[in-house]
Subunit: 157 residues, 2 copies
DNA sequence: GTTGGTGCAAATTTTTTGCACTCAG
DNA sequence: CTGAGTGCAAAAAATTTGCACCAAC
């Protein structure tokens, strides 16, 4: 039994009324085909289309939402306009996004260990830090300063 | 000289071509009238309107963007649909947002001290953690579990 | 055969943009 | 005066929704 089928099985068991449709299987397949990538809704639709099946965008959104609620994928705003979805990895990974040049730097989940513990102990809050984006300024841009209001986002316009 | 004028003066000095318009003054006034609140763009427009002046939404957006780039206000997505803006406090404050009940819990900036240091030392990245939202599950919702996909956002629909 | 899921098209919502005009410096 | 900033209206972009139909169980 494949990873895909195992996962689908588990999702069924959690909620017996859940139906495993071709569409859901295809979306999961597309995500698992490139587990490390950030997929936009459009990406997923395109990947599935390459298999000869066209899914409606709304269907993709609905499936991604379902997977997110089930904890299978994470949804993150990296400042690119559309949210990105990624298979919830173990351990999770996160990103630093430079507000000036737009660089995206990968960071290890370990940096959140302390924060997670603090929130659990001091606030009894169970954070869902599965795929975070922290905005700021990267080393290169700190060394080549530009004006404060000359930001990455401004340039994209 | 008022706080408002002092701030406007500083903004002028940083970039001499900056013009201090009535609109900019009014927006800042509205923000400073309630420094602890989260203001949506709409809120700001409404507050200004109470002073008898009607600003276009696009103007408000442009001014808030300007203030954000200048580091005067922070922009945060608390999951409510529209972004909220707040005067950048010293020290900043942050929020825990419960994915189930929507509760918003205030947290002290101290919880980010370790993370900030790690990013600066290990990644030479200067994070802009001025007004963060961390999503997860609050204590009450942990104790009264509901199904996984029965989330706050679903209910808002 | 139920009813959960999908496709389609239209709506919604928030934010952005082009352009002529105005006013701060 | 001169260009930064504004108002207006229209566009843009991403996501959501209503509803008729389809297919998983």
């Amino acid at each position: 039994m494949s990873d895909l089928d195992r996962l689908l099985d588990e999702l069924r068991q959690r909620r017996p009324s859940t139906r495993i449709t071709t569409q859901r299987r295809l979306v999961l397949e597309a995500l698992m085909a490139d587990p490390a990538r950030h997929h936009t809704c459009e990406d997923v639709a395109a990947a599935v289309a390459q298999h000869g099946v066209k899914l409606d965008q709304s269907t993709v959104y609905r499936i991604l939402q379902w997977l997110k609620n089930a904890g299978v994928v994470s949804q993150t705003d990296l400042g690119s306009g559309s949210d990105v979805y990624a298979l919830a990895g173990h351990p999770p990974h996160h990103h630093l996004v430079c507000l000036h040049c737009g660089a995206i730097i990968d960071v290890d989940d370990a940096i959140f260990a302390g924060l997670r513990r603090t929130l659990q102990l001091a606030y009894r809050f169970e954070p869902r830090i599965e795929h975070f984006a922290i905005f700021g300024m990267c080393q290169a841009c700190q060394e080549h300063p530009r004006t404060e209001d000359d930001t990455f986002e401004d340039e994209m316009a």
